[in-house]
Symmetry: C2
Subunit: 219 residues, 2 copies
């Protein structure tokens, strides 16, 4: 055992990094191995196929993401604070994942890769759907909390509004990536989310207060 866990970890992290920069189909096994400082033999010792690496990488990425989400969704925050934490986390995620590369926004590569996968790449779609499902649970919990607090106007369908938020954020992130402008994301993220949530007038916040500053440090 020349430290198998570490090798596997390195492959996963490298794969995630490279996929963030472009997408599944244009990232080669050789490239991943080279950047990870691992030979191809080692690669195929740990993963049966490139697609299997992708699946493992998406799970691995979710594990990290879950920690961040659990932190910002802590019951010690009010739903409104959780919302602000989330907005802040999304922004910080982009900064963290894009550090030292000449891109400002990354979006979620697992979501987009899955959304562009062909029919023949069912495994990739599956992994993306899995990630999707996880995210959705958290989103629903947030909206449910907001509704329970009486913050939302009307009597919205909690699951649907949660999906709305997700669709909007994903679309915005892709847009931001295309424009290569984090400011473009910042300009629309909060406002769009609040508009979709349709908060009661009393709860519409304007500024960008920072209720918690260490929410995304674990990234």
């Amino acid at each position: 055992m020349r430290n198998a866990a570490e090798t596997r970890q390195k492959l996963l992290e490298t794969a995630i990094g490279l996929i963030w920069q472009s997408n599944y189909s244009s990232v080669g096994v050789n490239e991943i191995c080279k950047q990870a400082g691992v030979t191809k033999g080692a690669f195929y010792h740990h993963f049966e196929t490139k697609a299997d690496l992708f699946i493992a990488a998406s799970r691995h990425y979710w594990d990290r993401m879950k920690q961040d989400l659990d932190a910002i969704y802590s019951p010690s925050f009010t739903p409104l604070e959780q919302l602000e934490n989330l907005i802040q986390l999304i922004i910080e995620k982009q900064i963290n994942e894009c550090s030292s590369k000449d891109m400002e926004v990354a979006g979620c590569p697992f979501f987009t890769s899955g959304g562009q996968a062909g029919i023949d790449e069912e495994k990739i779609c599956q992994a993306a759907r899995e990630m999707e499902d996880h995210m959705q649970r958290y989103s629903v919990a947030l909206v449910r909390g907001l509704k329970a607090d009486g913050v939302l106007r009307g009597d919205p369908d909690v699951d649907q509004v949660a999906r709305f938020l997700h669709h909007f954020v994903q679309g915005l992130l892709i847009y931001g990536r295309l424009m290569n402008s984090l400011d473009a994301v910042r300009a629309d993220l909060r406002e769009g989310i609040y508009r979709l949530l349709d908060l009661k007038d009393a709860y519409r916040s304007e500024g960008s207060e920072q209720p918690v500053s260490s929410a995304a440090d674990a990234a």
Copy 2:
């Protein structure tokens, strides 16, 4: 001249079709040529590189799209009717573009391909941004019309709301594609758009009336 225009047209159409099915990087030149019934020599006679084909294809696609958009945005419709036409067009586009393939939703491949392109593929990003810019104009015009008609609540930033719509729709389409469910799109498209627009109560329509049924026939 063995009908060069037709060959070029065939290559463009085929490329569009294949890219809709997956994405730029995973569609090969050979595949395009084979399906178009054109040899690679002919391909590289018409296009310098694969990226140039992509650009030309995106322009070609926009030309078709523009016709549809001009039709549904005709001044003979009220802004509210235009909105309904747009919603309907989005749905019908998916059906048309996915016909006979085992996928129900396609999304916009030029947008997503651009959003996933690496740094080295600046041409692809450029083409996507170009498409983006065109779409935005139409979206802004729609929102402006709605606002001018006094349909919207408050005093929203027209450009921003137009962006919101676009982000939401793109995100929703990718989601729908991932889930391979047009019903998932149908379930959220209208409701989400209306929520983002924040119509005055009097103008919130519930059903799915069809103000014009021939809007998207030109597709």
